[in-house]
Each structure stands twice: as structure tokens, then as C-alpha cells.
């Protein structure tokens, strides 16, 4: 197998080989080429607001500490003792000046510097004079509008360059409050018994919206008789570098700043005020775009920003080809009223949460795909061609088309097939 992705513009056909979801060999390659070289979301800066705050995170298959030092600098440390390797910090979160490994009681300042170890006389006088025994910092840490990303490759391009055209869409989310955005505590940590790439596809797939989530829409229609007049429709876009977005209208309410009859009439006033503030800051057109349009943004490889009935930052990592760990954060405007925050939280848990009326059905769909891939030897290819005919006619792909997924797969294929290509070129 030299090719996992086949794109034939003329035939309007885009195929992905199903071994991409099941092969251990491909997962190994992904760990090497994607999860060790791409920019990976670690968290939002507001998760560690105070000096000494820290959160334990698993990113790219590594155990990391997301910390704010006593010097107010945010760092990411490998959570592993330079002495014998044990996890230094066992708490999921907290505030501390010192991390101490319990195994041999080596102590580190919250910036990672080794500051104490028992039996010092057994070590050379110049032990750690080069800092090699400090807790190691992750190679790269950069942020964009409060979103923090790590990269384990020192030679990676800058985060801003990496995000490229996706920045425009992150801005539409980050601009929702003049006081900035914050991540709520207690992210939802769940899983799906399916390949990690399936949740990225699913997150920018409006085509599945109605059939998979009919029960959610039934409830919305019941709350608002006019809901059926607002269709799920809009555009899909390849943003380059594997990033993609769909931007569309929907029948649900958005705490910023689209009221729905399902909410109290008195809440309308507050929503109108939020909208008015947006108009003052950005003008009518951009304010309308921020307030009334939904965006599902896929940042290659594994960050999804759903700015829909609430905002989720969702990351997901493969543990096995058929099992991923998901972390979903809720992002909300700083200074939002308690009433608005409650509406946002209700919207979130109803659709986006793992105990809601929608996400569990997505989870089921992805698990059924994974099960279906048992038939790989007989039925080998996924079809992701919806909307290619439109593009051939020079039209903008719809949000219910699959251009967003093709964007991801083009980048994935470029990375994963790199040495296959090099070998082929060498033969010519």
C-alpha cells in the first residue's frame, strides 16, 4: 500500500483507505510525524491564572505539567523526574511553589529548577551546573489569543504561521467579549472507542447533523415553532495546512448573541445588549457574523473549536488505533452575567456534553464506523467526495459538503506518505 488517500478531481472522487483507522503501523507513524511535529493544543491561559497554578495534562502521548511559575511565566514541563523518571506531580491541578518527587525526594521550583535533594554529598560539586537535572521544558510553547500550543519539534514553523488562515476564525471566537475569553474549570474528560481522526471528521460534518441528531432537533422544534424556518446551511472551507471550517446558520440560540423563544423574554434584552456592544466594536456586518453564524473549526491535527450553541475546545488523542481520549473545555466570555453563563452551560451540556442529547449519538456513530472497519479486507475505501461536483462548477462548497474533511486528509496524507513519495521519486 503506497497510498491511503486518492483524490480524483475529474471523477469527483475522494477516497480514504480504511486502514488509516485500524493500522497500528499508521498510528506509530502518526506519533512520529504528527504528534511529535505539529502544534498541539495544551490549554487556555486562563486555566492557570495565578502564580504557582498548575494543571497536569496529557498531550501528544506525553505527561506534561502546564504551569505558571512564581515569576508569572507560563511553562510546560515534562512531568518526569530527571533522576529516575517517576511522575513528579501526581495531583491533577493545584497551586505550589515546589514540585517534589516522592521517590527520592528531589525537589523542583515551579519553573522546573532542581532546588533540593537528600544526600547531596554523594554527588559531584558541580552536579547540575548545566541545568541538565532540572525538569525539562517542552521544546516550544506559543499562544494565539489565549490558546496555548506546544510543539516537540524545535524546528517547527511558528504557531502563527502554522495557524495561517485559521486565525481569522479563531479571532471571531476570541472577539466575543471585550474582556477576553476564559476556559471553565473541570473540562469533560471522556473517550470514544474509535480512531482519533473520526472525531475531527465528525466535528466539521454538517451532513450528519439531521440524521444523527434528529432527537435534539425535535426538542428544539418543540421549544420554538419557528425553529424549522432556520435551516442548517452555510459554507465549508479548506483553510490550508489541514485546517478547515464550516460557517452556517442554525435554529438554536447562541448566548452571544442570538436569542431564541426557548429562553425567557427578559433574557432577550441582555442578548440585544451584547449584540449592540459587538456592533459598536466591530460594525454591523462583523457583529452579525459573530452573533448569528456558527463555526466549527478544525485545527490540524486534533483541536476542534465548536462555536455553536456554546463554545467547546476539544482535543483528542489516540491510545490505540480504535480508542481515543477526548477532553472538552467550555470557553466563555469573561464577565458574562450569571444568567447568560447558565444558558450557555445548559446549551453545552444539552448538545456538546457526553451526558447530553447529541454527543452520545456521535460517539455511537464513530464506534459503529470503527466496527464496520472489520470489513476492511472486503470493503476498503471511505468516500468523502460530497461537493466536489459543485467545486468543479466553480461553486463554493456547502457546509453540508465534505471539503472540510478533504482539507484534513490532504495534509494528513502529505505527512504520512512523505517517505513513500520520496522513495517513488528516487526510483524515477
Amino acid at each position: 500500500m503506497s497510498k491511503y488517500v486518492i483524490e480524483n478531481q475529474e471523477k469527483c472522487e475522494f477516497l480514504v483507505h480504511r486502514s488509516a483507522f485500524t493500522s497500528q503501523e499508521i498510528l506509530e507513524k502518526e506519533r512520529e510525524e504528527i504528534f511529535s511535529k505539529c502544534w498541539l493544543f495544551i490549554g487556555h491561559e486562563t486555566e492557570i491564572p495565578k502564580k504557582g497554578d498548575f494543571k497536569r495534562k496529557k498531550v501528544g502521548g506525553r505527561n506534561l505539567l502546564f504551569t505558571r511559575g512564581s515569576d508569572d511565566v507560563i511553562r510546560v514541563l515534562y512531568n518526569s523526574c530527571p533522576h529516575r523518571g517517576a511522575l513528579v506531580c501526581r495531583e491533577d491541578e493545584g497551586n505550589t511553589r515546589v514540585f517534589r518527587c516522592f521517590y527520592h525526594a528531589w525537589s523542583f521550583k515551579n519553573d522546573g529548577e532542581l532546588v533540593g535533594m537528600p544526600g547531596k554529598d554523594g554527588f559531584a560539586d558541580d552536579f547540575n551546573c548545566d541545568g541538565a537535572k532540572n525538569m525539562k521544558q517542552v521544546e516550544r510553547l506559543e499562544s494565539y489569543r489565549g490558546l496555548m500550543f506546544v510543539n516537540f519539534d524545535e524546528n517547527a514553523v511558528s504557531l502563527e504561521e502554522y495557524l495561517g488562515n485559521a486565525k481569522e476564525y479563531i479571532d471571531l471566537v476570541a472577539d466575543q467579549s471585550e474582556l477576553g475569553m476564559e476556559a471553565l474549570n473541570d473540562p469533560q474528560e471522556y473517550s470514544v472507542r474509535a480512531n482519533w481522526k473520526l472525531i475531527g471528521e465528525n466535528s466539521v460534518d454538517l451532513y450528519h447533523g439531521m440524521p444523527t441528531h434528529k432527537t435534539y432537533f425535535d426538542i428544539k422544534m418543540e421549544q420554538d415553532a419557528n425553529a424549522k424556518n432556520v435551516k442548517l446551511e452555510g459554507i465549508g472551507k479548506d483553510l490550508g495546512n489541514g485546517h478547515a471550517v464550516m460557517e452556517y446558520t442554525s435554529p438554536w440560540g447562541r448566548p452571544v448573541a442570538r436569542w431564541t423563544p426557548a429562553w425567557d423574554e427578559e433574557d432577550k434584552k441582555e442578548i440585544d445588549e451584547i449584540k449592540q456592544k459587538l456592533v459598536e466594536r466591530f460594525g454591523e456586518e462583523r457583529a452579525d457574523r459573530i452573533a448569528n453564524y456558527n463555526r466549527n473549526i478544525l485545527i490540524f491535527p486534533n483541536l476542534v473549536i465548536n462555536d455553536i450553541m456554546a463554545i467547546t475546545l476539544r482535543t483528542y488523542y489516540p491510545v490505540e488505533p480504535g480508542y481515543m481520549e477526548v477532553t472538552g473545555y467550555s470557553l466563555a466570555p469573561v464577565g458574562e452575567s450569571e444568567k447568560s453563563r447558565l444558558m450557555r452551560n445548559e446549551n453545552f451540556l444539552e448538545f456538546l456534553g457526553p451526558g447530553g442529547f447529541a454527543s452520545p449519538d456521535d460517539n455511537e456513530a464513530l464506534e459503529l464506523c470503527q466496527e464496520g472497519y472489520l470489513n476492511n479486507t472486503g470493503v476498503e475505501w471511505n468516500d468523502i467526495s460530497k461537493g466536489m461536483n459543485r467545486m468543479n462548477n466553480g461553486e463554493q462548497p456547502h457546509a453540508t459538503d465534505e471539503e472540510q474533511m478533504r482539507s484534513f486528509w490532504r495534509q494528513w496524507n502529505k505527512i504520512i506518505s512523505k517517505d513513500v513519495k520520496e522513495k517513488e521519486e528516487a526510483l524515477v
Partner: protein, 159 residues
Amino acid sequence: MTKTRAEIEAFLYHENELLDEWKLEEWAALFTDTGSYLIPPLKNPTANPATSLFYVHDDRKRLEDRAKRLLKKEAHVEYPHSKTLRNISNVRIKSQEDNKIVVRCNFTTYRTKRDVIDTFIGVQDYHLIVENDALKIQEKKVTLQLDSLRPHGKISLIL
């Protein structure tokens, strides 16, 4: 009108039996008109739903929607229905005053579907009301004793 421990336990067993038998509308009818059903964040069980994100925060209407939804074929995650088994134990009657009873119990809920067993464990806090001599649920709060929802991946059942 005081309720005996046996009557309170029988009510809780009945509730769990309804859920195991997928009689979900009958389950919803156990709640008072202003009743609620809650699952707070795992690491923050005393959180305020206005400031923290819950897994479930259902008023009477939404818990009824939840029950109705799960009986539809389009609630894909539970179609065909998974098999479930609920056990409750360590029932503690915390207080009984006027018509209000506060009860806490431990629970284990097993769900099996497609050859996988998911186990949910935790504590349930009930605020019960005696209405016309019958018990009704004013609030059911489920505190999961799990450090994450891995590997379950979801809470597709009513716990």
C-alpha cells in the same frame, strides 16, 4: 406522615427497576412538577450550575425530554437498548421532617452493549416529598465516584 425505611427503600428499588426495564416515562412521572435530576462535574460535586458545567442539569421538562428521547429509535446510542443492571446499597436516611425526606445511597450501574460492559459508580442524593401519601422525587443528584469518563465515553443512560 412518617415513611419507614422499608417504604423508602422499596421506592428506590422501584425507581431502579423502572430504569432497568426502560419504563422511562414512568420514571419521569416519579418526579414532582418542579423536580430536577443532576449530575455535577466529577471533580466538583458541590458546583453551582450557573458557573460550572454539569453533565446533566435537568428541570422537570428536560428530564421528561430525556426520557422520551431515549425511547426513540433515533436515540442511536441506546438503540437497540443496552442491557442495564442497577444496584443500590448503603441507604442512609439523613433526615425526615414534615413531608421532606433526605436520603443518600451508593449505586453501581452496569451497562452492556456490543460485548462491552461499562460500570458507573457513585452516590445518589435524593430529596423526596410525600404527596398524598406517595413518595415523589424533588431532586436526584448523582455524584459519580470516577476520576474521568474513560473508558465509558458518555453517560447515555439515566443513572
